[in-house]
Symmetry: C2
Subunit: 134 residues, 2 copies
DNA sequence: AAGGCACGCAACACCGTTTGTTACGTGAGC
DNA sequence: GCTCACGTAACAAACGGTGTTGCGTGCCTT
């Protein structure tokens, strides 16, 4: 949709994890596989952890692992975990007055919210285990 | 949704025009009213003209005017006029192989297309004349 | 107990997109 | 001919996303 890549990375990684949930992966592994940087991986995976989709462990045999059964994690969960909502989340917008602008804004955000609802609904129909993880 | 402001500007301007379609407005007027720059106005309004929503005239009493009846211009028309599709338009994406990545991408873009469809459908339910132009 | 490993986090450089600004050309009136 | 307003290009500034480095903190191995 918008300025992605985070979603792609998250989904890609989770898909692989779904293929072998017990295996522990380091951010370095993931980064190399995804062609990016370990820190970047930790950044986005961190959000997923905060949402309870992943767990991370430090130390020698540390790394990342799914916190739930692959079948229970839907694409919507992932989308929501990295909260990049369509509706540009509660922004302290411009002119409060101006009847027209207000009406306009209301209309548009109304539609947007409806659409986002739809998006989430559609995403929730697929789990990460339904996308073959090699 | 994404990196907007163009949509806002377009909608705001058209709403005002809908309130008094015969009146001719200059980009300078519009820019001042919208708190931006004339060139910026021309840029975005130019797209609307290309889409047949507006006409522009040079010379002394030149400016911008609606090319259609206000009731015939829907929000969807405006949205489509400045083509900033949600689905990040036909990008020549990454790795062609990788069954997983491909399946994933397909799923996501599928949903996205459906959602964008919905967005357009919802936007088309409202015309710019339905938003009080003072 | 010491060393190493992997995450957590902050700071910063880099880059692409968007927005704003200046400048100049063109056509339509006056 | 002069002015007005658009059309367009070029460039600067602002913004957000991504990549990188550095350092701190647990945890496991030895
Ligand atoms: S200023 Fe209020 S709508 Fe234009
Ligand atoms: S490389 Fe991870 S899906 Fe192909």
């Amino acid at each position: 949709m918008k300025r992605n890549s985070r979603l792609s990375l998250a989904l890609h990684t989770l898909s692989h994890m779904a293929g072998d949930p017990s295996r522990m992966r380091t951010s370095a592994d993931i980064a190399e596989h995804a062609g990016t940087n370990p820190v970047v991986v930790r950044r986005v995976l961190g959000r997923l952890r905060k949402a309870g989709l992943l767990t991370s462990e430090k130390g020698h045999s540390g790394g990342w692992r799914l916190a739930q059964a692959p079948e229970d994690i839907t694409l919507a969960d992932v989308y929501l975990a990295l909260d990049e909502r369509l509706v540009t989340g509660g922004d302290s917008d411009e002119a409060p007055a101006c009847s027209v602008e207000k009406a306009l804004h209301k209309r548009v955000t109304g539609v947007l919210e409806d659409v986002e609802q739809r998006l989430i609904q559609r995403l929730s129909e697929t789990s990460i285990s339904e996308v073959r993880g090699n």
